[in-house]
Symmetry: C2
Subunit: 206 residues, 2 copies
Amino acid sequence: MGRTSDARERILSAARSLIETHGYSALGVAEICRTAGVPKGSFYYFFDSKESLALAVIDEHWTGQKRTWTAALSGDAQPLLRLRRLFEETAAGLHAAQQSCGTVSGCLFGNLTLELCNQTEAIRTRLQEIFDAQVEMVDSVINEARERQEVEVAETREAARAVVAQLEGQVLFAKLYNSTDRLGPLWQNCLALLGARAPREAVAGA
Amino acid sequence: MGRTSDARERILSAARSLIETHGYSALGVAEICRTAGVPKGSFYYFFDSKESLALAVIDEHWTGQKRTWTAALSGDAQPLLRLRRLFEETAAGLHAAQQSCGTVSGCLFGNLTLELCNQTEAIRTRLQEIFDAQVEMVDSVINEARERQEVEVAETREAARAVVAQLEGQVLFAKLYNSTDRLGPLWQNCLALLGARAPREAVAGA
């Protein structure tokens, strides 16, 4: 098999799936290579260490998630409805993964934050950058909503942090109770945090 | 040293501290015994497995935390001020631990939920019971506040879940950014989630 062109992708995919089921600490290079179907030499050809692999898994996951977040949060819909779309997409993604692997895997970034950030500064820094970027994206939508006088918040950045914290907390519960139903109240909770009423389109079910 | 009467306590304390710094998966029986200063035989005298040790660590931590929560949430103060006291005590506890070990360790239950609940059903069930109990305690205070017409919530249980989710989410950020300042907005966010205004005593700084 050797250093085939897709070996790196297969290692990343195996590592991501093993991290989702057993966490990072339980991960061994031999198991990753067995799951990926590549010889051990391939691993060290692509990655210096388990840490550099974890950083690559994080980056790859964020590339995909950023695309989802950007699509959900942009466009012509009212700002608050775009936030609702973000929650719906998050729930749909977790639900689809649950259907295929049997359990709600939660948020990879939240999982790794709680497992790892006090062990490696490189991973802590990368995860901080990602959550900063998420807060920035939500902040920008809240700002638009504030300009339209649809929310009542003293400080949009703090409000965006509260929304992302609420998302992380409810995703934690979705994982704990193995049920994406836990994500149902996210939209109402977000409106409450923003001192907002549901836009008319949302009330009408649009 | 042998099976001294405090060996079980020392194993629990070592395990708790090792779990807080490196997580559960990275934990080895030999390391626990070395840290606790007890022979390996002692471990298996008290615990069948790493899982039964983790359950004992969880139970012991919950015994202490339930005491703190009960003290904060009961008494004659207005219900909303008792919720504020819970957030203040949580921040103070995390801050004190940060002073002694250098990092914000986060919430042991949240950490173990994200690391472990998809690996062992016994731990998942125990953590569900603990979060159910936390939600129940907060629900009871929100009910009191609703009777006093101090909050506007459709469903107190769902509101209590939102408050505990907000707490877990912000504690995650406190750990990620290694700063208990992240817990500062909890009180205002809780008031927003409950459709409440700060009680007069709180505004006056009492």
